[in-house]
Amino acid sequence: MNQANPVSIYQEPDLRQSSLVLGWKEDAGDLGRRVTDYLNLKLKGQEFAEIEPEDFFAMGGVAVKDNIARFPESKFYACPDQELVILQTDAPSAEWHTFLNSVLDVAEVHCHVREVYVLGAMISISAHTAPRQLLGVANSAEMRGTLSQYDLNRDMDYQTQPGERPTLNSFLLWIAKGRNIPGVSLWVPVPFYLAAVEDIQAQRRVVRFLNEKLGLRIDLSDLDQEIRRQNERLAQARSRSAQIDDYINRLESNLTLSDEENGELVKKIDEFLEEGG
């Protein structure tokens, strides 16, 4: 066990009053990875620290994805001009409390973080043509109040259902609250048939909020183009397959599909997008 010091700092970041944005690498619609990659690219984030994986991930080999061996990573990036810290990380499978506290240790001690934003995708049964409504869950009424001027739903009511467990986002917010760090969990719906690929609209929705809230001044026109391209590809899929079109039409009319039809739609969209259709 290496719990005494699970963090490696390569370089002290020059941050005085920053915000932390955390994205999980394995998120529906590739939301967390894509958003943090995008912010890093646009804001020229510099990697300055990482959390060592040995205490938090099963060290029983490596996962292979898209032909490449993957290893769990938890990397911090600093964007000093925007007073922003970005953490892109795999979700830990053990010692969650220590892991999340390590995240906040880096944020507080090395980055003087004053707010935390953690990203999450919700699988939705709606069609991709439906607007992505952003939901925000704050860890205090005061923090919720600061969200009033932004376009997001702040009225979520939720209680864990039998057989389920709270998300790591909630766990992080709760620990942050205990450390008097205001935090928000941002949730965006991702149509179920884009969950295994990517949902650029959902990504844009989150980036737009962060852009406004944190004053990042990012030009989002490239994301708009990507959304257009994805929508065109999905329109092609509909025009080539009457079955795909029928399924999506029904979702657009708020009709539900059977489990079998859901699975069929996921498979067909996946195949179509993989073929570069």
């Binding site: 860890n139 009424a141 919720r144 009511d157 909630s170």
Partner: protein, 303 residues
């Protein structure tokens, strides 16, 4: 991080009784029933963060109101004869989806429980759990008693409806007690406390089912309350048992007839001494276990 005590009562050489969930929830139902019967007060808790993932979140109007963790709580009661500290762990700090705790976390939690025993100068520790046995669900379960010291054997021999491992057919005094209900015995021994694990029998064909088995909890409590010199009305367990027996019977009727006929023979087991010829031969025992295992394997594959 560790133990948080809400109060520090003066207790007279109390006995600590601990339990975590396990097969049939036999131990935890027994200890929780004892807590209710005694009207035990909350004494403290083991802080959960290092052991558990949260179990519940409540969000109201977009604000995270609270996060709840599985509880690991201590209770106490002065009984007149012997003071009692009860410990109820809502979950075992298991990793990787396992049901039972093992490794560093389990060892640390067992030590925290014994820290409380030490602080209040407990004279003895009891744990309780399940003993998977070749018995029938209509029969009265026995209680297997495993002490952590040779000195306790004569006392255990006086317990009614209880047996030592050496008295159990074909075991030769050997066996394993999985998870924290067992680990605590070892940790207690290491730290100089005498301890006994009381395990209520559960039929082998019920061990894989998500069912409580209050009939065995009652058997454990009968032994425990006698040891604690506590008068306890266990009627609530009879009511629970009736409901459980209905569900078990429904399941039992789903077992193929040829296996059920074998299992029915367990109704007539009379627990002979090891040297005496039993009503079921060793060969027949093996066959029953094999048949039951095959049945469950088939069921799992069919799921």
């Amino acid at each position: 991080m560790g133990i948080r005590l809400y109060q520090e009562p003066q207790l007279n050489s109390p006995i600590l009784v601990a339990s975590w969930p396990g097969i049939g929830n036999i131990g935890i139902i027994a200890v929780d029933t004892l807590r209710r019967i005694l009207g035990a007060e909350e004494l403290g808790e083991i802080e959960p963060w290092e052991f558990f993932y949260p179990k519940l979140v409540l969000i109201r109007k977009g604000v995270l109101e609270y996060l709840e963790f599985p509880g690991s709580r201590f209770y106490f009661k002065g009984t007149g004869e012997k003071d009692v500290i009860l410990f109820i762990g809502e979950e075992q700090p298991a990793e990787g989806g396992r049901m039972y705790a093992e490794g560093t976390k389990a060892y640390r939690m067992a030590n925290l429980v014994i820290d409380v025993a030490e602080k209040f100068r407990c004279g003895r520790v009891y744990t309780s759990g399940a003993a998977v046995a070749l018995t029938h669900h209509t029969a009265k379960p026995r209680v297997w008693a495993v002490p952590n010291s040779e000195n306790l054997v004569p006392e255990i021999k006086k317990y009614s409806n209880s047996i030592l491992m050496s008295d159990i057919e074909g075991r030769g005094g050997h066996g394993n007690i999985t998870g924290l209900n067992g680990l605590l015995l070892g940790v207690a021994k290491r730290r100089g406390f005498e301890a006994i694990c009381l395990m209520g029998e559960i039929p082998v064909y019920l061990q894989g089912l998500p069912l409580s088995y209050p009939r065995a909890s009652k058997a454990v409590l009968e032994v425990l309350t006698h040891g604690l010199k506590v008068e306890a009305n266990l009627d609530t367990l009879d009511e629970l048992d009736q409901k459980a027996q209905q569900r078990i019977e429904e399941f039992y009727q789903q077992i193929p007839l040829e296996i059920r006929e074998q299992l029915d023979r367990l109704k007539h087991v009379t627990y002979p001494q090891p040297a005496e010829p039993g009503p079921i031969t060793e060969e027949e025992e093996r066959k029953i276990v094999e048949d039951v295992e095959k049945f469950f394997k088939k069921r799992r594959e069919g799921d």
